[in-house]
């Protein structure tokens, strides 16, 4: 086992990537109870949007981020309005429908952009490593960590400090009574879904220079995202943060102690055991479901 700092650094890095991807899903699943199996494909869409913007307009990764958020958010809004809206009381059908949506998105990308692995350029000033505390780490990973924290703070502010967040929380607790109070549930749901999708798109954009961009990259991400959300507790933002750290750090420690294949297996096993002990997740919050 090596010294502490590299371990923590790797753990934080993996955790921040998990958090980025799971945050959007936590919002969607937490607020609306929609099991969105297309979440990984929104991540993929974000990555492809960056690739497209870089290819056509030679934009820097950082400047593409707002466009990615808006574009993937718009796709999410469209999906909610046309498809998900009709399936709120039918969770099994939502699963099937979102899975189908994901397949459609994958194939659409494959037909238009091709199936080859694509190249997304890292911002030039982040390519080289930074030194801190006697340890050298990738500047880009630190950037991802910083952005994950920033998005977390932004999401927290949105949910707890804005009017829109208040409406969202009201609808989560009791939809019908909220509607009696004049809250337009349909519009809140649509915007929430769009926000979650937009977050997923940003996650995809940030992850793409470090990994690779392919039409089927979303599948593994949606699995990780659900692991994080379910372990953390469905309605709790703190839970999502805690579980992404737990999973990320466990993955890092186990991978350094043995190897990545075993680490993955053991982490899954660990999650199963934890869910058995805490069926509502690590941080359970009680809500009334209509």
């Amino acid at each position: 086992m090596s010294s502490i700092i590299p371990q923590i650094s790797v753990g934080l890095s993996i955790a921040s990537i998990l958090l980025l991807i799971a945050l959007g899903l936590a919002i969607i699943y937490g607020t609306m109870g929609v099991i969105n199996l297309a979440h990984g494909d929104f991540v993929m869409l974000g990555a492809y949007t960056v690739w497209f913007l870089q290819k056509q307009f030679a934009m820097n990764l950082i400047t593409t981020l707002p466009f990615v958020f808006l574009f993937v958010g718009a796709v999410g809004w469209l999906a909610e309005r046309s498809l998900i809206r009709h399936l709120y009381q039918r969770p099994l059908d939502t699963i099937l429908a979102t899975w189908g949506l994901g397949v459609i998105m994958q194939q659409a990308i494959r037909l238009s952009a091709g199936a080859e692995l694509r190249y997304v350029k890292m911002p030039g000033f982040l390519i080289n490593p930074v030194h801190f505390l006697g340890y050298e780490d990738s500047a880009y990973r630190i950037f991802i960590f910083a952005l994950a924290v920033a998005l977390l703070v932004a999401t927290y502010l949105l949910i707890y400090k804005t009017e829109f967040g208040l409406r969202m929380r009201a609808i989560t607790q009791n939809r019908d009574i909220s509607r009696c109070f004049g809250i337009n549930a349909g519009r809140v749901y649509a915007l929430t879904f769009a926000y979650g999708a937009g977050l997923a798109g940003i996650a995809g954009a940030l992850v793409s220079p470090l990994k690779s961009v392919a039409p089927d990259m979303g599948t593994s991400y949606v699995v990780d995202a659900f692991l994080v959300v379910v372990l953390g507790g469905v309605h709790s933002l703190l839970g999502t943060v805690a579980s992404s750290y737990v999973i990320g750090q466990a993955d890092a420690v186990l991978a350094s102690w043995s190897d990545d294949t075993i680490a993955k297996a053991v982490v899954f096993l660990g999650v199963v055991v934890l869910i058995r002990l805490f069926p509502q997740g690590l941080f359970a919050v009680r809500v009334r479901r209509s």
Binding site: L117, M122, I127, L210, K211, S212, S256, D260
Partner: protein
């Protein structure tokens, strides 16, 4: 109107007898609905055009079609046209087997060109062995196979590593870290690498396998920093190649001191990761797109003209191309009535062809191919600079790591010693 049982049974029996009599090939095996009927030679083209491995298999399909078109434009084989029957097995081994059966039994192809992954090759093998047909497999693979129904035109471990490992030890040092994807190909290649290292007094400081498609390498890179190998011998495939190279450079490691040497990184992966992330690393393969020979220039130009000027050729599409020409030379030797898969196999033994990589020959002992290993160093341009090439072709030895076994024309034989 109702049909009673007696009438039904009589009717079906009559129909069955009529069918069997009128179409004898249903029950007579190998009855000659000849392979070269009507002045046409049918061949199967079995590469995935959709699914996870479509990325690379499409280029194999393209190389094969281009070769067939060249042959037909030059008059075909003894005046007969080569007709490709294209199937898309969608990156799924079970579908590979099903399509292979269709090509061999339904379409009566005299040979089938196909497969990239070993899983798909293993899945179609029973089809070709049962129906005595011939499969031409162009991909580099782990060796340890000797089917009497397959022609192997891709490199085996001894051809890829015999020059590479000594060169790496000489130029960088003796400590190796082995990292691969978790399946049979990397494991067999690492086996050969360890044998070679032991002969050279080298040392393996780490050996690790990551899941297929894995893209999070921070823990692995930490281990590189800890163990400080002189060379990282990488047999990860697909998406993992791109992720590993990018994270390697982002973590600040230096290819001049700790290069990654691989057998599976090609021009396509380098294009996906970006030239600056590949620069300074090495690949050993019999073919690189930048190789300077008249045959290669002609091949690359023709490929770009036919399929698009941003296309690349690589060390799998080049064998996919030259194996069709070897097939043509084999069939050209046969008389029209004797074009059958076992005859094609025998006629192919010893055939030589001036491929883009150099003169290649099919070894009659084991149906593998003599190839010209090269070592390329990747440049920021996305192409490889060839810094070492073999002075002569290297004999294929699919059982090199297993001294008790040898491949013969009749299959694998255990040596009694």
């Amino acid at each position: 109107m109702s049909i009673d049982r007696r009438k039904f049974l009589k009717g079906t029996a009559t129909a069955g007898v009529a069918a069997a009599a009128g179409f004898p090939h249903i029950w007579i095996k190998n009855a000659s609905l000849a392979y070269a009927a009507g002045g046409e030679i049918k061949v199967g083209v079995l590469y995935s055009l959709t699914g996870t491995t479509a990325i690379i298999e499409t280029s194999l399909n393209h190389a094969t079609i281009m070769a067939i078109e060249e042959i037909n434009a030059a008059g075909g084989i003894n005046g007969m046209k080569v007709v490709p029957v294209i199937e898309d097995p969608a990156s799924d081994p079970a579908t590979f087997a099903e399509k292979a059966r269709r090509l061999v039994v339904g379409e009566k192809c005299v040979s089938v060109f196909g497969s990239y992954t070993s899983a798909s090759r293993k899945a179609v093998l029973p089809v070709f062995e049962k129906y005595h047909n011939l499969y031409w497999y162009p991909t580099l693979y782990e060796g340890r196979e000797c089917s009497t129904n397959v022609m192997y035109t891709g490199a085996v471990p001894n051809q890829q590593q015999k020059d590479l490992i000594p060169w790496l030890v000489k130029n960088f040092g003796k400590k190796f870290y082995l990292i691969g994807s978790n399946y049979i190909y990397p494991k067999e290649e690492n086996n050969v690498c360890k044998i070679l290292l032991k002969q050279l007094g080298g040392q393996v400081v780490g050996e690790e396998y990551v899941p297929l498609g894995h893209s999070e390498f921070s823990a692995v890179i930490n281990k590189f920093k800890e163990t400080q190998p002189n060379v990282i011998f990488s047999t990860v495939v697909g998406d993992s190649v791109v992720a590993l190279h990018r994270q390697y450079k982002a973590a600040g490691l230096d290819p001049k001191k700790m290069p990654m040497a691989s057998l599976t990184t090609s021009e396509d992966e380098v294009a996906a990761m970006g030239g600056e992330f590949a620069a300074g690393h090495f690949t050993s393969a019999p073919y690189f797109m930048s190789y300077d020979s008249p045959e290669n220039h002609r091949f690359v130009e023709a490929f770009k003209k036919r399929w698009g000027k941003d296309k690349t050729t690589n060390f799998v599409s080049e064998p996919a191309y030259f194996q069709v020409h070897l097939f043509k030379q084999a069939v050209a030797k046969l008389g029209k009535g004797s074009i059958t898969p076992p005859e094609v196999r025998k006629a192919a033994w010893g055939q030589e062809y001036k491929a883009p990589e150099g003169l290649v020959k099919i070894d009659p002992k084991n149906s593998h191919t003599y190839l010209w290993p090269k070592i390329g160093e990747w440049q920021t341009s996305g192409q490889a600079k060839i810094i070492e090439e073999s002075k002569e072709w290297v004999e294929p030895l699919p059982y090199w790591a297993y001294p008790g076994q040898v491949c013969t024309p009749d299959g694998m034989v255990e040596k009694k010693s």
